[in-house]
Each structure stands twice: as C-alpha cells, then as structure tokens.
C-alpha cells in the first residue's frame, strides 16, 4: 500500500475560462493540427487574446501521427515556457486542469491553453484500435478484435450480474442524455430516444448494444487556465477549481474492473472541495459506456456500490431535472472526438457554471463535478480522476 493520501494544497488564485468546442463531424479529411488550431484560436478569441500571449500549453490527442505537443508548438507558431502532453484519453481534461493550475499558481506560466482534438478518417478507428497499446496488441485485440466494445461487454456483463444493474438502468441514462443533446447545438445525434428504442437496440458485444456505444468523430475542445487577476482583465466570467484527483492503475487486484480510482478516497475528495455531493448542481461523467457513468456516480459517493440503478431511476437526469447529468448529451449523443471526449464534460461544466450555456443552462448552476476515465490499456480503464468546479457566486 502507498502512504495514506495527504490533503492537497488548495488552488487559490487559479481561474479557468473561455471553454470552447469546435463542432464535431462524423468524418473529416482535415488533419488533427487543423482541429487543434481551431480550438486554440476560438478560446483566444473568447478572451480577446493574440496567440503570442499564451505562454503555456497542455495538449491531448491520439491522431497527431509522428507529432507530439512539441510538434504543435512549431506547427502553430506558439512560443512557450511551459508545455505538457497528456496522453490519457478520457482523463485528459482533469489532468490538464490540475497540472496547469499548479503551473499558474507557481508562476511557471501565466496563460495556459488546455486543448484536446482528434480527426477521424474512415479507417482511423481500426488503426487506433489495432495499435492502442502493447498489452492490448498482445492480449486483448487478438481475441475477437471487438476493440473497447468487447472489453466493456465483459465488464458490463460482470457488473450487471454482480451488482444487479439492468439494461433498463442504462436506458434511463442514455435517454436523458439524448434529451440534453437535443438542446446542445453541436450534438451529432438529433433524434429523440425512447426507453423502448434502447431496449430494442441491436447487440454489438453482449450485453453492450448499439445505443451504449459512442460514435467516433472529429472535433476539438479547449479552455484557458490562468490567474484570477489575469482572467478579470478579460472581462469574462471564470470558474475556480475546488478539488481534483487522479489515479492510475488503481485496484490492480480486482479480477475484472468494477470500480476505479474514484473509490479510493471519495470522502477526502469532498472534504478538500468543501462541498458535499448533494450540493453539486450538475455531474459530468465520462460516458464511453453507460455502465462507466454509473460506476462513477457510485464510486464518487453520490450513492453506494450497486445502488446507482435505483438512485438514478428516482431522478431526472436532464438539464431541467433534479440531477442534471452530462448536460451536452455526453459522448453518447454528441459523439466521441478521440481525446476531446475527455474534455467534453469539463468544457460544458465550465459553460454551465460560468453562465454561457445559453438557453440550456442548469438553473442557478454553481458547483459542478466533471469526472474522467481513460485508456483501456488491456482489460480495463487505467486512468481515472475528477474535478470539482465552482462558478462565480458559489
């Protein structure tokens, strides 16, 4: 066992602002650099900044080819004194945010753009699945090449049988997210979904059905991390970071994944944030599959293990409901733009609590949780984490 977790220092003085999404498309012939450039440009425009003002960048992507964040600096003409590359897929925004916050606090950088983007060609998904990781190449992909659907088919099968979760519970999550997506302008899925449609959805990798799967697409997301002093000079609202956590390879002893790092110290997480779960106005989980959203809701302490089915069934998960969840529609209804999928929840949480989610804002939204989950290196998601964010007035 590692040392007992010590409480982290607070994120005093840190501001997060200018959340932007570059509208997703199913397939794109543009390179990833094009998508990332558009996201960075959009977040700068929000603040009225020239590119030369950025002195730090944190980038995440699966499809930069031979390039890393280093290649992006020269490609995009950014002269920086702080650079990070976060190859953590669905956990990208959480980790980018906490890294950037510390850099800003310490004065290593003053304006950091956090960005994730991926393009999607016709063969991109197969290419990424084939070459995902060494363990995957040796020990997962050769067993039917189902990709993530197969790995999640297995852990969903286990979860349903051991924790009494039913397909109807997944339907409840998916249907509410679709309702949210109908109000989010850039969602790829624009047709209302019913529980019956979900239940009739064809199996892809039992018990995972088509409507449990995200659609790979192209897109990019970004936001800026800076000091509150600088943020005020932009004349735009900003959010604060109350608490954050990240975990890697938590619970390796579990024979199959039924929890992740969130379950290690939920109490400490909430104590650091200074709020309780019932004070949260909206929850953004990483929804590559609904079972993972439910796992997050349990492990983060909104309810007990195995209780998420009953807990969510009693609640309305839409933007206007009593437990607003994945307010943009999530990846299940907006699409999964590679590593940008790890930003989607955080970016919309920022819009919600800074009051820019026009026409679909959670009423009086001030406190948001955004949670991330990433990298099916072999049989399970290795990276997990979460942030608690507060808007002004919170």
């Amino acid at each position: 066992m590692s040392e007992p977790a010590k409480r982290s220092h607070g994120y005093d003085g840190v501001a997060i602002c200018a959340p932007v999404s570059v509208p997703y498309v199913r397939y794109s012939n543009e390179a990833t650099h094009w998508w990332i450039a558009r996201a960075i440009r959009a977040t700068l425009d929000e603040c009225g900044l020239e590119p030369a003002r950025i002195d730090g960048m944190c980038a995440s992507s699966f499809t930069l080819g031979a390039d890393s964040a280093v290649g992006l600096t020269q490609h995009l003409g950014l002269t920086l004194r702080w650079l990070d590359h976060i190859p953590m897929g669905g956990l990208s925004s959480v980790v980018a945010l906490r890294r950037a916050a510390r850099a800003v606090q310490a004065g290593d950088a003053s304006i950091i753009v956090c960005v994730a983007g991926d393009t999607n060609g016709v063969n991109s998904f197969r290419h990424t699945a084939e070459n995902f990781s060494r363990f995957s190449q040796d020990a997962a992909y050769p067993y039917g090449s189902g990709g993530p659907n197969a790995c999640f088919g297995l852990l969903t099968d286990y979860y349903m049988r051991h924790f009494g979760i039913k397909r109807e519970d997944f339907a409840h999550v998916c249907v509410a997210q679709r309702a949210n997506a109908l109000r989010y302008p850039d969602a790829l899925f624009k047709k209302a979904m019913t529980v019956e449609e979900y239940m009739r959805s064809r199996m892809i990798s039992d018990p995972i059905c088509l409507l449990d799967c995200v659609m790979p697409c192209a897109g990019a997301e970004a936001f800026i991390v800076t000091t509150q002093e600088i943020a005020r000079s932009f004349g735009k609202p900003f959010a604060r970071l109350l608490a954050s956590q990240e975990h890697h390879n938590a619970f390796p002893e579990d024979p199959i994944q039924f929890r992740a790092g969130w379950a290690r110290d939920p109490k400490g997480f909430w104590e650091t944030a200074g709020v309780t779960p019932d004070q949260v106005d909206l929850v953004q989980t990483y929804d590559d599959y609904p079972v993972i959203s439910m796992m997050q809701i349990e492990d983060l302490g909104f309810c007990g293990k195995g209780e998420s089915g009953a807990f969510l069934r009693e609640r309305d998960l839409t933007v206007d409901g009593d437990f607003p969840h994945n307010t943009s529609g999530g990846q299940l209804s907006v699409g999964q733009a590679g590593a940008a999928g790890g930003y989607l929840g955080t970016v919309d949480a920022l819009r919600q609590i800074t009051g820019t989610a026009t026409g679909r804002r959670v009423k009086d939204a001030r406190i948001a949780v955004a949670s991330g989950f990433g990298l099916i290196n072999y049989d399970r998601g290795v990276c997990s984490g979460a942030v608690v964010l507060a808007g002004e007035g919170a």
Partner: protein, 414 residues
Amino acid sequence: MTEPLKAPGAKKALARTPSALSPPMPRSRKAMEFTVFAARGEFRFQRCGECGTIVYPFREACSTCLSVDLAWEEVTAVGTLIAVTTIRSSPDGYFSNHLPWRSGTVRLDNGPSMMVHVHGDVTVDERVRLIARTDKAGNGVIMALPEQDTPNMMDDPQLRELTCSPKYRRVLITDGTSRIGQALAKALLAAGASMVMLGVPARVGPGKIDEELAARPEVRLVPLEVTDQTSVAEAATQIGAKVDILVNTAFHIRPGGALSRHNSITDRDEMDVHYFGLLNLIRAFGPILGSRGADEPRSATAWVGLLSAFALGNWSPLGGSSASFSAAHSTLQGLRSDLSGSGVKVITAFFGPTDDEWYDHLQPPKVGPDLIARKIVTALEQGVEQVAAGAIAEDILERWQENPELLPRELARG
C-alpha cells in the same frame, strides 16, 4: 451443446473462394516467446523468480516486485469464466468474416485474469481449462474449453480455427507406397478424412499399396514423383484445389555421411528427395493451399513435413540424410513464414530411426509407422505445429529445445 460438423457437399464450380484474411498480426517479443510454446501445445506463463507471482499479459518486469527475472513456466491452466461477451461487430476483417465470436475473462486459479477465446459449451461462472495454440496469424492465443469433454467438442467453430482436424478434409500423402504413407492413410480415414490421395512415385517403380486400402472409395492413387518438377506440377493441376492437408512422406534415407561415403551420389539423391523434392512440392502446391485457408466448410489447413529428428543435430552415421533433412527443416521454417496469415499451418513431425531395412544396422528403440501416423493425426486434431514420434525423436527434440549447440556434441558421443 456443439452442433456436430456436417459432411460438406461438393463445392459449386462458380462459388467464390473466400479470401483468407489474417487475424491481427503484431505482437511483442515476449508474446512471440509464448507463441513458441503454444505452437508445441504447451501452456506456459511468466513467473517471477524472486516472488513467485504469475504475471499476465506478457511483460518485462514483475508487477509485484519489479524483478526482471521472469521465466516461462508450465502452469496448471484451470480457472473460472467470470465474464463473457459475444462480439457481433469488429473493425478487423478476419473477425468480421467469423462473427459472432465469443470472448471471455477467465480468472486463473493460481493467478491473473485474462481475456480468452471461449468455447461454445462453456457458460459464465463455470470452471474451464485453458489451452494455448497458434491462431491463423501464427500467433499464440488462449482458449477456454469446458472442464470436461463435451459431445462433438472439437467441432466448435472457434476451436476449429485453431486446429487442423482431418474430419471431412482431403489429404494428399506424397508417397503413398511407403509403410508410413499407408499407415497414415488408414489413421486419417479413421479420423474422418473424406478423401486420401496416395502419391505413387516413379522413382522406385510401382510401390506395394495395400489392396484393401487402395480399394476403399475414399482413396485415390495419384502419379507423383517429387524429384520431377513436371510430375509435381501435373499432379497439382489435377488435384491441387482438392488438397486440404498435404503430408510429405517422400524419403530417401541411406546410411553414411561426409567421411564414410566415397562420393556424393547418395548425398545428391537424398538432397533431391528431401530438399529439391520439397521445393517442387512447395512451388506447385503451396500457392493453391495458401489461397484456400478460409475456403470453408472445407478449407486448406495444414502442410505436414515428416523429418528425421537428426535434422536438428547431425548424427554422422546418418550424416547425409541428417544434412538433407536440415535443409528441409530450414525450408519448412520459410514456408511457415510464407503461409503465415493464410490459415494454413506448417507442422513438423520428427521421427527417429524406423523399424525398416534402412535402419537395420541400428540398435532399438525404433519407431513403427503406426505410431508416427497416430502422432501426426493427433497433432492435426490439436493444431500443434511440432510433434515427435517415438522415444528417440522425443529425446532429441527435447535436447534441441534445451540446448541446440549441445545436441550434436551429445550425438557424437552416442
């Protein structure tokens, strides 16, 4: 319950032969080491030499104590199927052509969990035994089988992708006049082969083929002289597309070697049959076999090369044939590479001195044709790529695997 395999009807003349796509090919070097064991049908895992942890997937360091002292150890591969899925959609071409596909998570009794292929007769939470075999890419993979045999178990479609069962398949035995050739024919027919083509070489005149065997409706005689390129090409034109399993039994083994022979006439004869004969066969039959690796319900599945175990280490009393079988062994390694991904396995079957006149100057133990035939049929049914028939061949193969440099020195001491 596994549906028993049905006898396939004749293929329609205009039916398309399905393309043999390979399952995913890239593997780490450690996974390729596992493949070596899987090809023998052995189940080995990496175990830490310091703390004893069994690790999986294959890796470079122990995930308990960080020791790099990981050795391959044969383990009891039994466990419980804790989760199962049926894959109905795949971005990979091979699996797309074989959907639906069952995969599962097995928790090994003595260690880690692993993702495996799952036999149709296993349901979740049941006990399973695991086997290691090579898949159609030639890579080692793991499959969960029912703990106890079930009816028609070997007919499971996913298991058949890993094996080369002769059931309902057609076999060419390149020299059907030898005792080994005929013993093989009988054993293959007993194992359910639907046709056995017996090659009749020109070299030694008409051989003595058992009349009862030749009269069986599943048996055809085919003129086939492996040392004659034209003869081999003609046979391939006639029957090539009907050969699902090719077993090369053409031998020319004579006593003597480099120092004990006065000239190279016998050495050339041995090379002519064992090496150039094999090349003729590969060039004529290899391409068509390789193109039919996915030609279900009766696909091409195996090339079996019978080799003297002295191919692995020269034994000077049989030095000439040792050298020619070494050339054949090397050639079959190349063929395995050429056919990898085609769905056709290359099986090397090693035998020691046989109980016929060309070994009458040697002391026992010797191996008879029936045992060699039985070993080859079992190798096909199990899908293993390497087999030894008889005590001497088993001993030589084991010594070679342990220390290939030591083997010829040991043989030199008798």
